[in-house]
């Protein structure tokens, strides 16, 4: 063992102290600061299951981005929290921007919470990539310059299913009975549905607004039976749809059911043999494309189950964000907005690339419809549905399903 004498020790100490003041700060300056992103999504309540999937998709994207060297050589540092309800979502968003140093906000599935986060983002002049909320109003009358919307809006879901209904001759002069989620998303979806019926001579003969915490639909099912519609149409949200599907199958009503919104995680929860009708989706894990399949394989390896549409959307939204920062070499809000508003194309694991429409910040992309698989054809418990062809057709512009400038009151 070496023994130090007093002088050596003093010299060493001095050298160490000198290095501390000079060298170490240099090292820490050399290490790039992490890029902080605030992520909010509902982990509890009627959308909780979707938020849990969203987090899995987000984590996978962030890990891949960081392993590939991060964004401009800086690692992403995502704080992800339960958005709980619109008021809490706004409080948390404000805290993330103000105290936690988040440069960008991402996430959300609940349209009401997304709206309050959008307001926080605008007040703080920070970007909010809104992932999973579909209310038209968010990219319509409530749109703002700082919010970009990745999921398909209600009008696209209605038009996607509507095309299939028109093809099957199920709209003209038919009597529809609606069940609608009683909050901004449901109201908005109902409005889109009404526009569609009016344009195609369908009659909405009844509609019930249903609170998001209702667990028993039997009184509503009796009202449907009394109204004797030709088609029952669901404008419900989150796990409301699961309950409806299960109890509709339970009562065995004879009217065909269609819906303008259903998330795959909620469809999986319905159980075999309960799902019926035609529904819209933004993405499904059986989509037969190489990029999509690779994502599904990696996700399944990681989590032991395939991704749902919210896992997918969080994954692609984070990839879009990383691409934007890498290509602009900036985390500056205005620079990023400018990049998106150039209608830059993004690979979102679908056949056609997607882009944010400059005038309403909506990600324009392909959508799909799906129907349940006939009994006995499912390969596993995730393989419950048959995905329809992408809409619009390859020869049509992708925008046709989206609200037109005349329909959409957004002005940025």
């Amino acid at each position: 063992m070496t023994r130090f004498n007093r002088r050596t020790l003093l010299k060493a100490s001095a050298a160490f102290a000198g290095a501390s003041t000079l060298g170490f700060p240099a090292i820490s300056y050399g290490q790039a600061e992490k890029i902080k992103i605030g992520h909010l999504t509902p982990l509890t309540g009627f959308l909780g299951a979707l938020g849990a999937y969203a987090q899995l998709g987000m984590r996978m994207a962030v890990e891949e981005i960081n392993q590939a060297g991060g964004v401009m050589g800086r690692q992403l540092d995502v704080m992800s929290e339960d958005s709980v309800n619109p008021a809490t979502a706004a409080t948390k968003a404000q805290r993330m921007l103000e105290q936690d140093g988040a440069l960008v906000l991402m996430g959300e599935t609940n349209s009401a919470s997304a709206l309050t986060i959008m307001q926080v983002a605008a007040r703080n002049k920070k970007l909010f990539i809104q992932t999973g909320a579909r209310s038209d109003a968010l990219r319509g009358k409530n749109c703002n310059r700082y919010a970009f919307h990745t999921d398909i809006p209600n009008t696209v879901m209605v038009n996607a299913v509507g095309k299939a209904l028109l093809r099957d001759n199920m709209v003209k002069d038919k009597k529809f009975f609606g069940l609608t989620a009683d909050y901004i998303f449901g109201h908005d979806l109902l409005a889109a549905a009404k526009r569609f019926f009016a344009a195609n001579q369908g009659n909405l003969i009844g509609d019930e607004l249903i609170a998001t915490d209702v667990t028993d639909f039997s009184p509503y099912l009796l009202k449907i039976r009394q109204a004797k519609p030709d088609v029952v149409c669901s404008n419900l949200a989150g796990n409301q749809v699961t309950t409806l599907i299960k109890q509709y199958a339970e009562f065995g009503l004879p009217y065909p059911i269609v819906g303008f919104n259903l998330n795959t995680a909620d469809a999986w929860a319905a159980g075999e043999g309960n799902l019926a009708g035609i529904w819209p989706t933004v993405w499904y894990h059986t989509l037969d494309l190489p990029a999509s399949k690779t994502f599904v394989d990696n996700f399944t390896k990681r989590n032991g189950k395939p991704p749902d549409n919210h896992a997918w959307i969080e994954y692609v939204a984070f990839k879009i964000m990383a691409q934007a920062m890498n290509e602009t070499k900036s985390t500056d809000t205005d620079t990023l907005i400018g990049y998106f508003e150039k209608e830059t194309q993004f690979d979102i694991l679908k056949a056609r690339k997607a882009y944010f429409r400059a005038w309403d910040h909506q990600l324009v992309q392909e959508a799909y419809t799906f129907s349940p698989k006939p009994k006995g054809q499912a390969k596993d418990k995730w393989d419950l549905i048959t995905l329809g062809a992408a809409v619009p057709n390859a020869n049509e512009p992708m925008e046709v399903l989206n609200p037109t400038k005349e329909q959409n009151p957004c002005s940025l």
Partner: protein, 291 residues
């Protein structure tokens, strides 16, 4: 025809009331005997549903709805022995806090074990579809459920009113000090009451799994309605809870028929009105312990 529609809602409400009853009756019993408001009651309902799904995978639906409540009742023994027992004579706020905490722990535990996504569950094929009696449409499954509830109700009534066990429990509800003076320990009875109570909640969960969503927060969803039923019925009253459960089901159905938007609020309005007119609930007894 309008009257026929209304009657259909009334009958459907009675069926739904039967389901509320399974959860509310146990809650009322535990409160009556132990003086503990069991906020964790919903957690046992949720566990009943999750256990039954697991058992269904191996043994099918029939054994699942029997074994699951029994398994949860066994958990009830542990719950009573190691947690609830310490709080019978303590400040009620403590038992509220501990059962509230337990409810959250249980919900998170379910989330960790079974995941946040709802689990799929289906009605066994033989109970699918509806039966039409005259003008009325019933879900076959709910008719079966109603029969089960009626049998359980009868069994619990017989147990409380025709056995020596029931005599001690009823005496314990009204005059625990006299029961003690007669040299009877109430504790083993309390264990049995908790077993019975949480077992019934689990049975509710097991039977309702195929027609509702099986997810971690399902316990928190049901507990509020169960409380409303207990409060309307009146504490310590068997028939009070029965009548209240049916009333809540019917009032909700009728309100949805005429004023759908008020459907979920109607049961709270009902509770408000009952408390205004009869603060101890419909058939609540004057119990020294709580007054």
């Amino acid at each position: 025809m309008q009257f026929g529609f209304l009657l259909e809602q009334v009958v459907n409400g009675l069926v739904l009331g039967g389901y509320y009853l399974l959860i509310a009756l146990g809650l009322s019993l535990i409160f009556s005997v132990g003086g503990v408001v069991n906020l964790a009651h919903g957690a046992f309902y949720a566990l009943g549903a999750y256990f039954s799904l697991e058992i269904t995978n191996y043994l099918g639906f029939g054994p699942a709805v029997v074994i699951s409540p029994i398994a949860v009742a066994m958990l009830g023994i542990l719950f009573e022995r190691y947690i609830l027992r310490r709080f019978y004579t303590a400040d009620p706020i403590l038992s509220l806090l501990v059962t509230f905490g337990l409810a959250m722990v249980a919900e998170q535990a379910i989330r960790i074990i079974w995941g946040a996504s709802p689990l799929p569950a289906s009605i066994p094929p033989m109970f699918r579809g509806s039966v039409i009696l005259g003008d009325f449409l019933f879900s076959r499954y709910r008719v079966m459920l109603l029969a089960v509830v009626a049998v359980v109700l009868l069994a619990v009534w017989l147990l409380l009113n025709k056995t020596s066990f029931g005599r001690v429990v009823r005496a314990g509800i009204q005059r625990p000090d006299m029961v003690a003076a007669l040299g009877i320990r109430l504790q083993p009875y309390m264990t049995a009451v908790v077993m019975l109570g949480v077992g019934m909640a689990a049975m509710g969960g097991a039977f309702f799994a195929p027609i509702t969503i099986v997810h971690p927060a399902m316990g928190a969803e049901i507990i509020t309605v169960a409380f409303v039923v207990v409060v309307i019925g009146g504490l310590g009253s068997f028939w009070g809870v029965v009548i209240a459960a049916l009333l809540v089901g019917v009032v909700r159905g009728i309100t949805i028929h005429f004023l759908p938007a008020a459907g979920e609020a109607s049961i709270y309005v009902l509770m408000f009105l009952v408390l205004l007119v009869r603060p101890r609930g419909l058939l609540g007894e004057r119990i020294e312990k709580f007054e």
